[in-house]
Chain length 468, copies 2
């Protein structure tokens, strides 16, 4: 329970919007991290402050070799994750676990080059911003914490969702000496280098809508040509702007279609209980009193966003996630997501060449679209991992379009898939709610049971090991 | 059997001093490799020509998914390895294997920055010279070869000795999707970060001599104070120079002692049949007609080096290995080898601080002595790897002082130690000889049997996998 003040660390009470007991005893630390772990040029030795949070409330302590649950930050500042990552909070007490949350380099307060502006200036400063460097940071920080707490034998479980879930699974594969196991929630590690068909993401979005309502699906499917028809008319964009109460006048039909695309994919990706956004959109569309397709679509928009003064294109500034992820996808995390035939969307195949060209135009350096599978694998993953590695859970909700790039079958006795038919993106690691359906409660129980099994084996191994 | 001409590759017949049938069908290739795999700065995209050699003589071909044996180059130019690495040559026929030899970056012809001079200029050009970059090169090249030969399903076994043996074991751990297994010969992966006691290396050298001859061991043990006594006298160094017929006048007693140290450690490290250099040295010392200790030592020197016009300090220029390995040990490969108490040497503890200081003085950047164990592990290796990873053979000869930092017990069912009591450094992967003793023949048979077992499992897995 006691707070441990780590030497040579600056820390201050973490301020969060909604402090509750758990968060009140979270402490914020920063540590100096090396800019480039894989290079020995003088400038590689530059350091930056990396932020992490420790919560000791439920920890059983180093003497008990009580476990450490580590959330691996993803493409956003840490602040939001602490409240959103329920898995750590909800399991700290039963596991008697120390909870650690580490921020990903180039997000939040973990910015090299003294300022965001400098860090994001160009490829020369962004070049250090990639997954291999990030998980090397995590390895260093976890070892640092374990040493400082004299908890070298405490088992570590790393947890992440989406991109962070990829990092978690890759972390276990690359640093098995640092983490005993990984929970990789909604991690589309196979959505690279054409292992997963390019159109899989949009196929699932469409399937989600079709399963919710055939008429809704058909209405959306027919809407695109309606939009094209109106947009091509004189004052067509103005007509669409008025019809959809857009916040700003539309400047192109593709802009407009992108906004709708974002709504549909967002609804499908986060199609979670109790509200189930896909159902909400479809209730709006199917329940519309209007007869024409675009009026129905607009009623779907209103059903999804609620009553607003305007819709779809309210001006927002680029978020940290927008900025950071743009670089990451343009350099290393090239996920070739396109729209194939037979969906509710207009076909829009992914064009790698033009993607690379655009990225090069933007950042001046070409993407490396094959690197992820070179470094982490993915091709024939079962053939490879059925006899290599251990202790990874790939959890997925099959309504999440990213689940198409996830691991959906057990690869071995301890590299396991835990999927739910009705689940959505990262749902299982979000905080428990009263309204959680039984299948979600069961999924989480399964995950916890598996991790407890890993730990039981580890403690037995440790005992045998120390007797030697 | 046919030679395959890879597209977009320049190749020419490899010229070796002693061409025999195997080498005559070796072909030399080069491929452009990225300078920095873990960074996206513009200069990281610079490329360099990396050299590798393919030998198709015995290959069963891609259609038969016949295996590929890959020698991972270490701290020397490739040329010497091809004749020295018998394991590939001797096993190509029984395995029907394609043999691949890849040169390590910054050695031989695989030099970034257009010239050795430029590449070795300072830490800014040397910074890319490290093990993580090297094994990423290897992963890229192996995948490139497999793609070009349409041999994606051919199992790959990586083989290396000493530093190259470390690379082989680390390669299997980091790139299991590229190599099915690794043979790591005499790989002291535990000689980092004080996992292995600092004095272990010299303890084994001493043990080797003591086992060869107690009187020899005692003579050497007593010789150092004799040297100090004479060296401290007026004209003492001149006396020693004459007594030992040194090629150049000695400039210090420590210089002289270093030469003897090099001879003893070299004899122990490579104490191989049929001559067994430790025995040779001791035969010289024990069989000496002289009574004084240093005359006996000189007879040991003559026995080891043979009749020469002068001994010990003939002027030689820094070899590529000297230059390259100096950087590698001063940046990443910090192996804290010192001399403890109770050996035949004078105690000389390893002083990490002064080592780092010297390296910093030389290259301008500090070493990272903890990085190897951060990235590759090593601490509590059995606890970690008994449930993670597979298919690594750590072969060692226990007379090799580096075996003290090797893996000498099985870590799991397929991470195995194959040691011989009488073996020496990298002996098992050297070419077979008529004079090989039975224990060496058996060691190699054991290694081959294990690898055949991995392959049998893999082919069964592949068959099941393709049926799915």
């Amino acid at each position: 329970m006691g707070l441990v003040q780590l030497e040579e660390q600056s820390w201050k009470t973490l301020r969060l919007c909604r402090l509750h007991q758990f968060q009140r005893v979270s402490k914020l630390f920063t540590t100096l991290k090396t800019l480039d772990h894989f290079n020995y040029k003088p400038e590689s030795y530059a350091t930056f402050q990396q932020r992490y949070v420790l919560n000791f409330q439920h920890w059983g302590g180093a003497n008990a070799t009580a476990p450490i649950l580590v959330y691996l930050g993803a493409e956003s500042p840490l602040g939001g994750d602490l409240s959103g990552i329920g898995f750590l909070h909800d399991n700290a007490a039963p596991f008697k676990a120390l909870c650690v949350y580490i921020e990903h380099r180039y997000y939040g307060k973990s910015i090299p080059f003294r300022s965001r502006k400098e860090a994001f200036k160009n490829a020369s400063t962004l070049g250090y911003f990639n997954s291999a460097q990030a998980i090397a940071d995590y390895a260093d920080i976890i070892m640092h914490i374990k040493k400082k707490l004299h908890a070298m034998s405490s088992p570590v479980i790393v947890i992440g969702g989406s991109y962070g879930g990829m990092l978690a699974s890759w972390f276990r594969l690359k640093y098995p000496h640092v983490a005993l196991g990984a929970l990789a929630s909604s991690a589309p590690i196979l959505y690279f280098n054409n292992i997963t068909p390019s159109g899989a993401y949009y196929s699932i979005v469409s399937k989600d809508f079709r399963e919710a309502s055939e008429t809704c699906y058909q209405t959306i499917r027919k809407s695109w040509s309606e939009i094209d028809k109106i947009a091509s008319k004189h004052h067509g964009l103005s007509t669409l702007s008025k019809k959809f109460k857009t916040c700003e006048p539309l400047t192109s039909s593709s802009e407009f279609k992108n906004y709708l695309d974002t709504m549909y994919t967002g609804a499908a990706q986060y199609d979670r209980p109790p509200s189930y956004p896909v159902n909400e959109v479809c209730r709006g569309i199917d329940g519309s009193k209007k007869q024409d397709i675009l009026s129905k679509i607009f009623d779907g928009v209103v059903a999804y966003y609620g009553n607003r003064t305007c819709y779809l294109n309210q001006p927002t500034s680029d978020s940290e996630t927008d900025q950071g992820w743009r670089w990451q996808t343009c350099s290393e995390m090239v996920m070739p997501i396109g729209v194939g035939e037979n969906t509710m969307f207009q076909p829009d195949p992914f064009d790698l060449d033009s993607f690379i060209k655009n990225c090069k135009g933007y950042y001046g350096v070409p993407a490396r679209p094959h690197w992820i599978t070179s470094y982490y694998g993915g091709q024939d993953i079962k053939l490879i991992l059925q006899r290599f590695g251990s202790n990874i859970i790939f959890s997925n909700g099959l309504r999440d379009p990213y689940s198409s790039g996830g691991v959906l079958e057990n690869l071995s006795d301890s590299i396991l898939a835990v999927s739910t038919v009705k689940g959505s993106h990262c749902l299982d690691i979000q905080p428990k709610r009263e309204t959680d359906p039984e299948w979600l409660v069961e999924q989480r129980k399964t995950v916890v049971k598996i991790i407890k099994g890993w730990m039981a084996k580890y403690y037995a191994d440790l005992k045998a090991f120390k007797r030697q």
